[in-house]
Amino acid sequence: TREKLVLSDLLQSVKASSSLATIKKQLTRVKSKKTVQLPLNKEEVAQIHREVAFNKTSKALSKWDPIVLKNRTAKQLVFPLEKEQATFAPLEHVLGGWKARTPLEQEILNVLHKNKQPVTDPLLTPAEKASLKAMSLEEAKMRRAELQRARALQSYYEAKARREKKIKSKKYHKVIRKGKAKKALTNFENLRQANPSAALEELEKVERARMMERMSLKHQNSGKWAKSKAIMAKYDPEARQAMQEQLAKNKELTQKLQVSLESEEEEGRMEEEELLVPDAVNAIQMKANGPNPWMLQSVTLAASEADEQQDPEQLPSEPTAGEDSESDGEGSAGATEETELRELEERRSLRKRSELGHAAGARNHPEAQDTSSQEVLLEVRRLAQKLPKEARSSQPPKGSSTGAAPPAPEKEQAAEEEPLLLQRPERARTLEELDELSGEGCCPNLELPRPVSQGLHAGKSPKNQPAAPKKKGKAQMIDLHNLLTTRSPSGKSLAVPTTMEEEEDEGEREQKQTIKEAFAGDDVMADFLREKREAEEANKPKDVDLTLPGWGEWGGVGLQPSAKKRRRFFIKAPEGPPRRDQKLPNVILSEKRNIHVAAHQVHVLPYPFSHHHQFEQTIQTPIGSTWNTQRAFQKLTTPKVVTKPGHIIKPIKAEDVGYRSASRSDLSVVQRNPKQLSKRHRKQLKKNSPEALEQ
């Protein structure tokens, strides 16, 4: 073994002289470095290159996976895939080739020409063009200054408004508000004199606001706050005050304005009518030119009721009194509260009258609107609202009263007509209960008895106040549907149809006779039964008799095998499964496999299906238009691939599916890294190129 020369040995010999220090340093640095590994051979390098490139490309291609999957499973593919780009052409260009053909078009064109309107290019009038050009520098400056001023003014105004809004003084606001109201009134007055139609419009606006108020629950003392106040109202005068104010506001807002621009006498008359008729009639009058025509129907219904009510209500003060006494007589717990409230209301309305009287005067109300009559009207209105509630909550008026009598015959009639109607554990005792019944839908027809009962009502209790809401309830029971579907029982009583029917009957009888004659010999039923019995017999498993006569004993004519042997070799057939048509008397079900049918049946479950149920399901769902609606048919028969005839289908592009296409072209990439040209190829290319250039 030879000793190796090591660098350190050499270094040791070097003296620590300054001249050699640098060399020493260099040598130590060399020592610390590792030797370079041998380069891989060419094939291996190429393979690594290829592998890296392949992985890169595979990754790049994987972005297509979702799209490929989507397209493969798509219900429908429409080719070509790329969307046709919408091109934007100016209108003038599109209309360039257009010519007026019909007389109408020509006429329009003529008019346009006459008025110097542009017909084709560009769509601007000369005036517009001029205005476009017109604005000079001065004008522009002026306009800018104007705008600036306007903006400044606006900001001042906004600041002022904000400041005023912040003022907390109620008095200040009240004053302001009152001032505004006064101003509005005077304005209206002026307007009325100057321009009556505009004033009318104004009025209509007020009316509309009133309607909105009536529709909403605002100021009705039904909110949380109002309820809390209502509790406090008894003890706290302030709360009472607040509630009253609230109610007054509601009244004020819902108060109908009695302004008409007609002559005074007419107004007076109208006022009187107003006094007499209840709210519903008002409503009709309003609705006649009101904004919602759909309400008309219900209103007319109400109107009819109102007509019916006319006679009992001819004296408006009397019923109120009666009602008052009645409610007092009932003496329910709520009654006291109600009376209290009513008193409140009366007082409030009185006060408001005095206020409103002033306002009404301003609005040119005649003095006919005196406070007492208004009060009465109010009462009527309120009562009308309250009554149905009362009628429901309280028991029906006493059994001995006249009001209880009429429902009985009515019910009898109903029972005669529709025995099913009253199949209910307890009898409906009153109209209200009947009403409920009808609500449940089991009382379809009660129109016929109605006039009778009404007559009774009208005759026996002209002053019975609860009748009105009851009638209302009954009116709801009238159902158009029921009216249409009820068959009139007297339809057959007409003479002519009966004879016709008889003729028909005779014809039928004759036909039956002939059929009977033709099939006189056939007893189809018996035949069928016999057939069925035969089929059953044929399908029953047979017994097997394996006895061999003469085996082990004498045999011959007249000799029987012994009973023992017969018993021993007789195999009884096992009981088969019950027939499937056992319980179907009119059917013969053959359980034999039909080979003729089998040839047409699918034997193996086809590929995509995993269970035969799925396959059967697909087969059983029909797709034809015979069984499906047009839309469903179209959906079921959409073709998988749709192509446009005469269109070239290009390969899918990254842009088509929303991917970004490669930014750099393949060519530029290739030109930037020409490293792959091996020396051999370069040589070859050099050789080739002069020849190629010669061509």
């Binding site: 190429a46 290829r50 592998e51 490139a53 392949f54 890169k56 490309t57 595979s58 291609l61 994987s62 297509w64 490929v68 397209n71 493969r72 593919l77 080719f79 040839a599 047409h600 049946q601 699918v602 034997h603 396959f615 087969i619 059983q620 029909p622 797709i623 034809g624 238009s625 015979t626 069984w627 499906n628 609606t629 028969t637 959409t638 073709p639 691939v641 192509t643 005839p645 005469g646 269109h647 070239i648 289908i649 290009k650 390969p651 592009k653 990254a654 072209s665 393949d666 060519l667 990439v669 290739v670 030109q671 890294n673 020409p674 490293k675 792959q676 080739n688 020849e691 190629a692 061509q695």
Partner: protein, 445 residues
């Protein structure tokens, strides 16, 4: 005499406004329309029969070549224009609407090996046995001018295939190596090799346009990346692959037409197992082309027939042949997905319908609805034996028919032998190789 007439009240069937819903004059209650399945079955049967009755796919034959048609090319912008190159060096341009030859060029000495059009349709390239690549204008020369190529490149070796890039002025040729050419230059900008062999065909990927596929006579298919200027992977099959075609809708899928009568559809990311082996031909498959929808492809074979395969089925759905059609060398599916062209040995280009029983021309909406319905019915009942039998039935020339029988026997014998061998050897020593794996020899990285 009183004439009884049908009189209907229009109120019963006319809508008042367009916005009203349509009246349905029919009660669709299923109880009222029994026997849906039998009725639809009969309809499906009739539809299938009618399809076979109307299956007349052959449309026209374009004749004019004086030697076998060796290559075909589609015009990228015009559906009516087709280019074809023959074995005598002649290139013809055809108008399909008039079915006439519109231009004839004597392009090369010897075979025209390949032809391809530029992506914009302004010019086309041909290569021939005379080692030249020639670029030609699509429009013919003016009167008095001579037919001259725009550009001629003389190569060192014979080029056997050419394809043009789908977006840029680049084309690729193949021969001893795959060359990428810039149209402006006379020398290739990049050459790629992997071993030494003659490469028979090269194809650009239509979606990821920097990818190329080629097949060589040493039974392999090689993929290249033009940007990185390197081959990617190589798969070696049992027998030589004649050509490949990329799926125009699925970037990573291509189909190879093989000498062993089969076609192989590959996912290029997993070359060790083809996605599908398509077998029905009884002789070498010479050419393959995808339908532009990417759902089907057509293959031309040495057995004098062309077949249409769904991409996801191993059996063909259609076979076209005529008495006079000889070995089919090239085939193309037109870009509107309607027609198929094939060029064959006996100098003709034939035009076929892609859907054999399709009615040509404009269809009325009712016809369209009926067609769609029939199609759906056929699909729905396709598994029923009688319908399947009728739909599958094709008349074949005796040669093909007998060969099919023969090959069936051979295949069965091979299968039996393998089963027997497995039976008589140690368990596990004769593994069961699935059909897809059988034909792949190796994948080289």
């Amino acid at each position: 005499m009183k004439v009884k007439m049908l009189s209907r009240n229009p109120d019963n069937y006319v809508r008042e406004t367009k916005l009203d819903i349509q009246r349905v004059p029919r009660n669709y209650d299923p109880a009222l329309h029994p026997f849906e399945v039998p009725r639809e079955y009969v309809r499906a049967l009739n539809a299938t029969k009618l399809e076979r009755v109307f299956a007349k796919p052959f449309l026209a034959s374009l004749d004019g070549h004086r030697d076998g048609v060796n290559c075909l090319a589609k015009h990228p912008k015009s559906l009516a224009t087709v280019l074809s190159g023959a074995c005598d060096g002649e290139v013809r341009l055809w108008n399909l609407t008039t079915r006439k030859c519109i231009r004839t060029i004597q392009a090369h000495e010897g075979f025209v090996r390949g032809i391809c059009t530029r992506f914009c349709g302004s010019s086309f390239f041909t290569i021939g046995d005379d080692k030249t690549v020639k670029q030609w204008k699509m429009d013919g020369p003016g009167s008095g001018e001579e037919e001259e190529p725009l550009q001629t490149i003389l190569g060192k070796t014979v080029y056997t295939g050419i394809d043009h890039h789908w977006k840029e002025a680049v084309f690729a040729t193949c021969g001893q190596q795959v060359d990428i050419w810039d149209e402006q230059r006379t020398s290739p900008i990049c050459s790629m090799t992997w071993g030494f062999d003659s490469i028979s065909s090269v194809k650009f990927n239509p979606i990821e346009t920097f990818l190329l596929g080629s097949c060589a006579s040493d039974r392999n298919i090689v993929l290249y990346d033009m940007r990185q200027a390197t081959p990617l992977k190589k798969v070696i099959l049992d027998m030589r692959t004649n050509t490949i075609c990329w799926n125009p809708m699925e970037a990573f899928v291509f189909t190879a037409a093989n000498e062993d009568y089969n076609l192989y559809t590959f996912d290029m990311r997993a070359l060790d197992t083809p996605v599908m082996v398509h077998m029905d031909h009884v002789s070498a498959v010479l050419d393959v082309d995808y339908s532009p929808t990417g759902k089907e492809f057509v293959s031309a074979s040495f057995d004098k027939s062309i077949r249409i395969f769904p991409v996801d089925k191993s059996r063909s759905r259609e076979v076209y042949h005529t008495k006079r059609m000889q070995h089919v060398i090239c085939v193309k599916w037109t870009s509107d997905n309607k027609y198929i062209m094939c060029g064959s040995d006996e100098m003709n280009i034939r035009l076929w319908k892609a859907d054999a029983s399709e009615k040509l021309g404009v269809l009325s909406s009712r016809e369209k609805a009926a067609k769609d319905y029939n199609q759906k019915l056929k699909e729905k009942f396709q598994h029923h034996p009688q319908i399947k039998r009728i739909a599958r039935h094709r008349h074949l020339p005796k040669s093909i028919y007998s060969q099919i029988l023969e090959q069936r026997v051979m295949k069965e014998a091979r299968r039996r032998k393998e089963v027997n061998r497995r039976k008589h050897s140690k368990p596990g020593s004769v593994p069961i190789v699935p059909e897809k794996k059988k034909h792949i020899v190796a994948v080289v990285k």
